[in-house]
């Protein structure tokens, strides 16, 4: 019965598609701006994400100048930063805090959540599931425009006289609730909260769409066990986001009440600015629980799509099936579930009941198991492959490397006893920048290189891609690896300068190295930007399937219109990882090739499936055996 519906849906969509053509062609506004085409919306997310990545990167360079070269005269930044440069040519300490706050907020939410999920979930879910568009194109459009509005609000907060929010990206109250405690907690914080509220609306609209599309709109034969790992990753990501972002919304709402309406959810016993505030009975720890209930799953919201993208790219370029397809799905599922019950490992030394610490330590370290499985599976996928080093492949290998380097230090931080010393030091900064920051960023860039031909119908230049990769890869290692040493030495994060302490007197050499490497790394991104925009207009036209990949998106025309496939949506007959199958003529068999056409390479259980293929309607009932 279900299959009949699918077929009917297909026809309906085909009709709608034909109808829409008349409107869409030629009208700039509906085609490029208020588009309901998932591919255009994906590009909108990508462009906005790239814009934010640039802002976030440049902000980090400004504070790295302060940390790496504390003696440097920064008067030359006055034309941009104005009053935030003190008369002595230094960054204002409060602006320094605003810089780290905005760098974190921008990178975590605007680049690695919206820029990564927004781009690739939108672009790939319909294309790889075999759908003409998202379940609701209109909601999808709203999702982008809420994100855009959120971006405008956040961007405008950079330009107000009291500066943007400055209480850290985690905005712990009471600091974030009291404008008398830090300037950034005035209008800047209000704008931060408004922006995040809009952002959450955007994420939820997108997430509902992703989930619905994956569940309901797969093409004939595309059972769940034939979904590419990208789609699985986007699917889990959307579910995690849908369950956790509303909690951040609640946390933000209560903070708004505390800030503006005199409630005491988070505030209690405060004496500041020469007066005792009337708040009593609130709990600052409550906010931290609510925040990290989103905040920790957020790590996986950022990371899982990157891991999905990488799985796809590594399999394609190693010309091998991804090793342990089901184990990969299982570990993602396990990570997704565990991500909800480990949040308090961010709070071991916040005064939380130490018994809770024991529980969360146990759960946290368990999450290392599925993560380790993923790494082993990537490595085994490379084993006996025939590896082509496309830029996308290089960035994917880079991701695995960073995921390993950064992930392994989680064993220190997840251990409450060891975390006492390391909490809020540069060790933590190194850990999360490697495992979720750089790794996810590499996944995002890998995705852009890999799917650029599908997005713009042209190829990016691979030589520039290679230069971009090697500078970024070595640069990022030089930025974040030395931070481990600085962290073990106890240097606290979010410090404007280390001159006030004898204990934190050393490492000016490493700090200078980190800053120099950061400048180099951010600089290398301009190679990417050049390559991106140059190739968009002047790149060589892409062949139909440039990477010889198996998945459905490469069966669309070079410049797919709204609706993706000009004719009927292709049916799917096999899993997406039939690379280098013994006996096969080519080293890949696309998902659209029925088993009846490949008798030479079929495995025994696949021959069984041939009987069912003649009748596409029943194919969906069969779960693949991979």
């Amino acid at each position: 019965m279900a299959t009949t519906q699918v077929t009917t849906d297909t026809h309906l969509h085909a009709d709608a598609h034909g109808h829409e053509h008349e409107h869409h062609e030629g009208n700039f506004w509906t085609h490029y701006i208020f588009s309901q085409d998932h591919k255009i919306i994906a590009k909108q997310f990508l462009f906005t994400g790239m814009f934010w990545a640039l802002i976030g990167g440049v902000l980090s360079l400004i504070f790295r100048l302060q940390l790496g070269f504390p003696e440097m005269n920064l008067d030359w930044l006055k034309p941009i930063l104005g009053g935030w440069i003190t008369p002595e040519g230094k960054i204002d300490p409060e602006f320094y805090l605003a810089l780290v706050t905005m760098h974190g907020t921008i990178m975590v939410f605007f680049v690695l959540t919206a820029g990564l999920s927004g781009t690739f979930s939108n672009f790939l879910i319909p294309l790889q599931c075999g759908a003409r568009d998202m379940a609701s194109g209109f909601m999808n459009m709203l999702s982008y425009w809420f994100f855009f509005l959120s971006s405008v609000v956040m961007f405008s907060s950079l330009f107000i006289s009291t500066g943007p929010a400055g209480g850290g990206w985690t905005i712990y109250p009471p600091l974030s609730a009291l404008p008398q405690a830090i300037q950034g907690s005035g209008l800047g914080m209000t704008l931060w909260l408004v922006s995040m509220a809009l952002f959450i609306v955007s994420t939820l609209l997108g997430g509902i769409n992703y989930i619905t599309t994956v569940i309901n709109m797969r093409t004939r034969g595309m059972s769940f066990t034939r979904l590419p790992l990208t789609v699985w990753a986007f699917f889990f990501t959307a579910i995690i986001g849908l369950l956790s972002f509303p909690v951040l919304f609640a946390a933000a709402l209560l903070l708004i009440f505390d800030r503006s309406f005199g409630t005491s959810f988070y505030l209690s016993d405060i004496y500041i600015g020469g007066e005792a505030l009337p708040h009593t009975g609130g709990s600052a720890i409550l906010f931290q629980h609510l925040f990290w209930f989103l905040g920790h799953p957020e790590v996986y919201i950022v990371l899982l799509p990157a891991l999905g993208i990488t799985s796809e790219i590594i399999a394609t370029n190693a010309r091998k099936p991804i090793f342990g397809y089901k184990a990969m799905i299982g570990s993602m599922l396990f990570i997704a579930i565990l991500s909800f019950i480990v949040w308090a490992h961010h709070m071991f030394v916040t005064g939380m009941n130490p018994f809770l610490g024991t529980i969360f330590m146990l759960l946290t370290l368990i999450i290392a198991v599925p993560s380790a499985v993923k790494i082993f599976n990537y490595v085994t996928t490379l084993w006996k492959g025939n590896i082509r080093f496309t830029p996308a492949m290089l960035f994917s290998i880079g991701l695995v490397s960073f995921f390993l380097t950064g992930g392994i230090t989680g064993l220190f931080l997840g251990n409450a006893a060891i975390d006492i010393q390391l909490h809020d030091t540069y060790f933590v900064v190194a850990h999360f920048h490697l495992v979720m920051g750089t790794a996810s960023f590499f996944g995002m860039v890998a995705g852009v290189y890999h799917w650029f031909p599908k997005m713009f119908g042209r190829m990016m230049d691979d030589k520039l891609g290679y230069i971009h990769f090697w500078i970024t890869f070595i640069g990022a290692n030089l930025v974040f690896f030395p931070m481990h040493y600085i962290g073990i030495a106890g240097f606290p994060r979010r410090y404007y300068a280390f001159t006030n302490f004898e204990t934190f007197g050393g490492f000016s050499d490493l700090n200078a190295l980190v800053s120099a490497a950061a400048i180099l790394t951010v600089g290398a991104q301009f190679i990417f930007l050049f390559n991106f925009f140059y190739s968009m207009f002047r790149g060589r036209l892409a062949p139909a399937n440039p990477w010889r990949a198996t998945t459905l998106e490469w069966t669309t025309p070079r410049f797919p219109k709204h609706g993706n496939w000009p004719g009927e949506i292709p049916a799917v007959y096999r899993w997406p990882y039939d690379y280098s199958k013994p006996g096969a003529k080519e080293d890949y068999i696309p998902q659209t090739v029925p088993f009846s056409e490949t008798p030479e390479s079929n495995l025994p259980h696949e021959n069984e499936l041939i009987k069912l293929e003649g009748n596409g309607h029943t194919a969906i009932v069969v779960e693949g055996k991979h």
Binding site: I270, W383, N477
Partner: protein, 359 residues
């Protein structure tokens, strides 16, 4: 000047890169290379990855070995020895795992780079292998978890009744310390009693236990005795960080926290051990608290126990330093307050300075 040079360098690099790019793409167009062919320079990346692996691991071991003293802080508390040991055990396990996986991965990348005519192995799964590398990490983790849990439970267990109770108060942007005085019990406090004239700790003057409390701007600790730090904050979150004692605990307005530990080396011993006659223990703030977050330093001094007792007995009580507050004490307790605070009658008779303007 510096920025001009940097700017010129950047522009020059960009121009050179653009030239290379143009030439390379023209050459490849002239050669008529098919974009979906594997690049003839594919193998270069395999070599570069091997180089990266070897140099990266080499650099890591070299720096870790030669700079060991620079990035490890000497430890000066009992539990710190335990957590340091856990740290280095975890380090041993993770470095071993890291080096093996790192080397194997980049070796595969190098070894299995594209060769024309070769076909990759079709190797979609192997349940034995997958189970093995699920179970082995799980077992190793179990060991880490249980050793960690034991240490954590010891560290967070209640302090003994004999522990030296010391209160640390965080505010923007300084620390204050309050000692309980001779009665060894801290008096009650309430943030509503805080004022700008002297009672910056919010002492409750109707509580007799507060009369002999004294405050300092340095943290003095006895060696070899259990210390129970009671921690609170007046305005926003702060975090007590004593790096050499491996102590860290947030200071939360409205929710007192605590941390117990045993210092094991006096400042003098530490000066000998480090060979640095200027060495001082310090306390820092590790929870972002505003403009002066990076400057919330407090000097920490560890004494031999008898020296500590002597130092403690020499400190003037808060009430003696702020005798004007005697008037705020309920009349029936004033005599007792004078006795406990060590105030002679002449002192009490002096004109009250702080009382004016108070509510």
């Amino acid at each position: 000047m510096m920025s001009v040079i940097i700017g010129l360098g950047v522009i020059l690099t960009l121009v050179i890169l653009f030239m290379i790019f143009r030439i390379a793409s023209l050459v490849s167009v002239a050669k008529g290379r098919n974009p979906d062919e594997v690049s003839p320079n594919n193998g270069v990346h395999g070599i570069l990855f091997m180089l990266f692996m070897v140099l990266g691991l080499g650099g890591f071991f070299w720096y870790s070995y030669t700079h060991f003293d620079a990035y490890t802080l000497p430890v000066a508390s009992e539990h710190g020895v335990v957590t340091d040991r856990l740290f280095w055990i975890t380090m041993g396990i993770t470095v071993a795992a890291f080096v093996i996986i790192f080397a194997v991965m980049f070796w595969f990348v190098y070894r299995y780079q594209y060769k024309e005519g070769r076909k990759a192995a079709f190797y979609p799964d192997n349940h034995v292998l997958e189970l093995t590398w699920t179970i082995i990490p799980a077992l190793v983790l179990a060991v880490l978890i249980f050793t960690g849990l034991r240490a954590w439970n010891d560290i967070t267990s209640p302090a003994s009744a004999q522990a030296e109770v010391i209160e640390v108060i965080g505010q923007q942007f300084a620390w204050t310390v309050r000692y309980p005085g001779k009665d060894n019990t801290l008096g009650n406090v309430n943030f509503k009693f805080i004022d700008n004239f002297g009672n910056d700790l919010g002492l409750d003057l109707s509580d007799a236990k507060s009369f002999d409390d004294f405050k300092t701007l340095e943290l003095h600790l006895p060696k070899g005795r259990e210390v129970l730090l009671k921690i609170r904050a007046k305005d926003v979150l702060h975090s007590v960080f004593l790096p050499h004692f491996r102590v860290k605990m947030d200071a939360v307005p409205g929710m007192p926290t605590h941390f117990k530990f045993v210092p094991t080396k006096t400042t003098r011993q530490m000066r000998e051990e480090t060979g640095n006659p200027e060495f001082n223990y310090e306390m820092a703030c590790t929870e972002i608290c505003g403009r002066g977050h990076f400057s919330m330093r407090m000097l920490v001094v560890v004494h031999e126990p008898d020296e500590f007792d002597k130092w403690k007995s020499e400190q003037e009580t808060w009430l003696k330093q702020n005798p004007g507050y005697i008037e705020k004490i309920p009349a029936n307790l004033r005599e007792m307050a004078r006795l406990k605070a060590g105030i002679t009658t002449e002192q009490a008779a002096k004109p009250v300075l702080a009382a004016g303007g108070m509510e």
